[in-house]
């Protein structure tokens, strides 16, 4: 009951007492939202290194089949399957989600809403601990008999349910358990995010004073929560199929494997938007700050994000056009799939309209945000070929599909994360990143990214199937043109991985030698920039009040071109 009478100042003093904590209390078992955000961020980055290494190994196998890959050795077909499966799962579940939703959500939601922590700090810590457990469980799957699971991240039965097909009896079950634990972690985190955003806004902050990135992270959490349930149930059913011999998905004994595909994609397609939405929010924040303009049609942008959420529940079966689904349903799902491109395109137009007539500064975060728009547009446009049932039947399981979803996921998970990281780095660590190194990193990364995946669109159109570990056994896939494109893609990809050392060097160097950032280096409006950099435990001495929306830039009649949310007039 004491908490209810405690003032903000008293809370600050109470938190100051926390300063004398041991290393373990402070960095490992902390309930502070910023520490937990850092834990998610660095775990996600470590997993990105692992996922990137996996892709390096199998891309080398694609370009130089049968050759010994440096740092790995010969890639056997079984190893190839395990590598691509875990690359996909890691990049989505253990990189995109922890970094975009958990790390940025944990860091930004309390700071942008002007409160001292998440509403359930200990639940928040438990969420990270379960997430970490899921990482360890996933690692353990690589060391059991038969090795890690190799049946693709979609875990389709009967390949995933029968050990005699997938040859990884332990790995496939452990893989499912790891994914299920990861879901539990994000359900907990999601409930925390949603409740915090709904209940703990600063006094004076109305629904439409909430910054876009908080809206999108919360919408993503709701979307995740609404779509993941059937897959949790399905995962239990599949684990029972694998371990105790039920026949939920075994057509031979009265089950139906298509059911799994539906349960999986009912989650799997909204999941695309779960990771897309936070990236869209991050880009919105950056674009408004660096074009010094109000976000064009802020309310429309929110409605568009909600429409995307709702529509994303109706499109899932476009992943199954060749799975033998009802052709009449394929018509319906084609229409809804093409329909969802409308709100997403609208969001892109919101950004472009925000840029129009602004006074744009090309800082590193702004470059990443613009790079997101440019590359994601290409990813979205190529999706139309795949969303249409007629052309998807030809393109399905070719490298065209692979290039398409890398052109959507890469901008989301990598470019979006870099945009957010470089933008909020001064707030997180109190120092500025080096701009020159940042720009080198950006230009080389985005060029090498295009060099990696543009050739794969072409190989896909030429008919290259994406599940083949060694093309030499198919003469029609072993042509000089295809091999040249594969080699070009692989070399680009290696360059892309190598240039990340520039980023790592930049971060390490800036942490020690970077210019002091001060509270508000970008002259931005939102509340997190009114706290110290980095914010102390409890964030503010006196929690802020909010007087206006987040995007009041270049308001006529003011001496400065920004108008922070907490300034009374």
């Amino acid at each position: 009951m004491a908490t209810q009478t405690m003032t903000a100042g008293a809370a600050g003093e109470a938190h100051a007492a926390h300063a004398e904590q041991t290393f373990w209390q402070r960095y490992v078992f902390s309930t502070d939202h910023k520490t937990i955000a850092m834990q998610y961020l660095f775990t996600g980055m470590a997993m990105a290194v692992l996922g990137g290494f996996f892709s390096y190994v199998f891309r080398m196998q694609m370009a130089y089949p049968g050759a010994e890959v440096p740092f790995w050795g010969i890639v056997t077909p079984a190893a190839y399957n395990t590598l691509i499966t875990n690359h996909g799962a890691i990049m989505i579940f253990w990189v995109a989600m922890p970094v975009l939703i958990a790390a940025f959500g944990n860091y930004l939601i309390p700071l942008m809403l002007g409160c001292d922590d998440m509403v359930f700090p200990r639940l928040n810590r438990l969420s990270y601990q379960i997430f970490l457990l899921s990482v360890l469980v996933l690692f353990s799957s690589f060391f059991v008999k038969g090795g890690g699971f190799g049946g693709a991240w979609t875990v389709y039965p009967p390949l995933s349910s029968k050990a005699e097909y997938n040859l990884t009896p332990g790995g496939s079950t452990i893989f499912l358990i790891a994914v299920a634990l990861e879901f539990v972690a994000f359900l907990m985190g999601g409930i925390n995010f949603i409740t915090t955003a709904m209940n703990s806004r600063a006094p004076g902050m109305k629904m439409y004073d909430i910054p876009m990135v908080v809206w999108t992270i919360v919408l993503a959490s709701i979307l995740f929560m609404g779509s993941v349930g059937p897959l949790v149930a399905g995962a239990v059913m599949l684990i029972f199929d694998q371990t105790i011999g039920t026949a939920f998905f075994d057509p031979n004994r009265g089950g139906d494997p298509i059911l799994w595909q539906h349960l999986f994609w009912f989650f799997g397609h909204p999941e695309v938007y779960v990771v897309l939405l936070p990236a869209l929010g991050i880009v919105a924040e950056i674009i408004t700050v660096f074009s010094r303009k109000k976000l064009f049609a802020y309310r429309t942008a929110i409605y568009v994000a909600i429409a995307t959420c709702v529509l994303s529940f109706t499109v899932w079966a476009h992943h199954q056009f060749i799975a033998g689904i009802d052709p009449r349903m394929a018509n319906i799902f084609t229409v809804t799939t093409l329909l969802i491109s409308v709100p997403v395109a609208q969001m892109m137009l919101v950004y472009i309209a925000t840029l129009y007539g602004g006074s744009i500064t090309f800082t590193t975060p702004m470059l990443w945000a613009l790079g997101f728009i440019a590359t994601f547009l290409l990813g979205g446009v190529t999706g139309i070929f795949l969303g249409t049932a007629g052309s998807d039947i030809y393109f399905h399981d070719t490298y065209f599909v692979l290039a398409h979803f890398h052109y959507t996921f890469y901008p989301i998970a990598i470019i979006g994360s870099f945009a957010g990281f470089t933008f909020w780095f001064p707030k997180m660590f109190g120092r500025m990143l080096n701009e020159t190194l940042g720009k080198i990193h950006f230009w080389v990364t985005i060029t090498a990214f295009s060099g990696t995946f543009l050739p794969l669109f072409v190989t896909g159109i030429l008919g290259d199937n994406r599940r083949i570990p060694d093309h030499r056994i198919y003469p029609e896939l072993d042509t000089p043109m295809l091999n040249g494109l594969r080699e070009f893609a692989t070399i680009s990809m290696v360059i892309m991985l190598l240039v990340q050392f520039v980023f790592v060097f930049n971060v390490v160097w800036s942490l020690r030698r970077g210019k002091k950032a001060g509270k508000n280096p970008w002259k931005a409006n939102t509340l997190e920039w009114t706290a110290d950099s980095p914010p102390p435990h409890g964030n503010w001495k006196d929690l802020p009040r909010v007087y206006r929306g987040p995007y009041e830039y270049s308001v006529p009649g003011r001496s400065e071109d920004y108008w922070p949310q907490d300034v009374p007039n």
């Binding site: 609404g226 779509s227 009912f266 529940f313 009802d326 052709p327």
Partner: protein, 146 residues
């Protein structure tokens, strides 16, 4: 058991919910339970098959919906929370209807459209549906079953 003061409920949702006549609601729930169990027993006596099925389904599922509504309304006090909570619950249920609508056309189509299901699959499925160890010896499961 407080009286129903509508004004207070609207003004302060954070305060205590109205406590209704819980024992009476519980008694109604039990009565509904008896009806839902008796329904199929009555239906078993009826010769006309469609009527029997209609009675079974309406007593089983119709009453389940009524019971669930009573619990959600009176015990969980959904009408004393903010308006969005019932919307949220209904939305989640609608998502499940959507899942059913999109999935059922495939999963419920046991026979294919442009293909023949091989006979041996049927045979296997039949064998799986009638497990060997499960014959007879369940007379003590006091159920007429039809």
């Amino acid at each position: 058991m407080s009286n129903h003061d509508a004004g207070e409920g609207h003004a302060e949702s954070g305060a205590h919910a109205h406590h209704g006549p819980y024992v009476r609601i519980w008694a109604i729930l039990l009565a509904l339970l008896v009806v839902s169990v008796a329904g199929p027993l009555v239906a078993a006596l009826i010769e006309h098959r469609p009527t029997a099925i209609a009675i079974t389904l309406s007593t089983a599922f119709g009453i389940a919906v009524v019971k669930a509504y009573m619990v959600v309304k009176n015990f969980m006090h959904i009408d004393f929370t903010k308006r969005f909570v019932p919307y949220l619950v209904v939305t989640m249920v609608l998502f499940m209807v959507l899942l059913f609508a999109g999935t059922a056309p495939d999963v419920m189509k046991v026979k294919g459209l442009n293909w023949e299901k091989p006979a041996w699959i049927e045979a296997n499925a039949e064998a799986a549906a009638h497990p060997a160890g499960a014959h007879g010896a369940h007379g003590d499961h006091g159920e007429s079953g039809h």
